[in-house]
């Protein structure tokens, strides 16, 4: 069974590689490379897979999941400048792909239950663009 919880955070970022010049960054990231930054209302959907606990009837405690997502994602990222305030984005370009991978990394360590595992992180940059990350196996062209 799949269980999905949604959360939102608003953040600013600049998508540019400091090793490249302005023209090269624009060719790769387009307007997202604007050095003055811009922002998005990100929506993250965290999906867990597992079987309901025979006693509680739950795959995972939703209140605990909410607290984990708040502590690992929303609190550190909401109304923040990702490049300047949220490691590793001082060194890693905060593309939607990289943010999704970072969210996965932060959550996977916390969602440890015998009957449930982190299945997918879907991150919407806008209503018209999202990425799905299913962990390391998804990173190598599953």
């Amino acid at each position: 069974m799949l269980l999905t919880r949604k959360a939102e955070f608003s953040a600013s970022h600049v998508c540019a590689n400091p090793a490249l010049n302005a023209e090269e960054n624009f060719a790769i990231y387009g307007v997202n490379a604007n050095p003055h930054g811009h922002g998005h209302n990100y929506v993250v959907e965290v999906t867990l897979e597992g079987e309901p606990d025979p006693v509680t009837g739950m795959v995972f405690d939703l209140r605990e999941l909410k607290e984990i997502i708040n502590a690992e994602v929303v609190d550190p990222m909401d109304h923040r400048f990702l490049n300047g305030e949220v490691p590793p984005f001082d060194k890693v370009v905060p593309t939607t792909e990289n943010i999704a991978r970072e969210i996965w990394r932060r959550l996977a360590a916390r969602i440890a239950a015998p009957n449930a595992r982190l299945k997918n992180v879907r991150l919407y940059e806008t209503a018209d663009l999202y990425v799905d990350f299913e962990g390391a196996q998804g990173d190598i062209g599953r």
């Binding site: 790769i28 890693v92 990289n98 018209d128 663009l129 990425v131 599953r142």
Partner: protein
């Protein structure tokens, strides 16, 4: 990792096939068989899959948008699917067949490193058709 990007286009069509009688067409396709045609605001979701590259992306957004725009949107947006889209010639312009046509349009000029893995078209907010490529 997968990335899904959404696009929109408006087009008219009429569901009808010469293989059936007018009565059968009317019975099978109902209102969609109206000889004067009708239209929809289609929503197209294109999903690609691949590893994250050195730039932190699985696909260059501008390249993907340019491909979808030139291969699909320029051919179908504000068009009549029955008479103006060669890729649909000989096919009933159901959204099922439209999804296959969009797949062909994209694949014929696909030069992106990421793989095309899904074409999803919503004909209306109530009817969605998803094609695994």
């Amino acid at each position: 990792m997968q990335l899904t990007s959404r696009y929109r286009f408006a087009a008219s069509h009429r569901l009808t096939t010469d293989a059936l009688s007018p009565e059968e067409n009317a019975r099978i396709y109902g209102k969609c068989n109206n000889p004067h045609g009708h239209g929809h605001d289609y929503v197209l979701d294109v999903t690609v899959e691949g590893p994250i590259d050195e730039a932190g992306q699985i696909v260059n957004r501008s390249a993907l948008n340019a491909l979808v725009t030139s291969q699909v949107l320029a051919r179908v947006d504000h068009r009549d699917l029955n008479s103006e889209v060669p890729e649909l010639a000989g096919h009933v312009t159901t959204t099922e067949n439209l999804a296959y046509a969009v797949e062909r349009m994209l694949k014929s000029r696909w030069t992106l490193p990421a793989r095309l893995v899904r074409v999803r078209i919503a004909e209306t907010a109530r009817n969605t058709f998803e094609l695994k490529v």
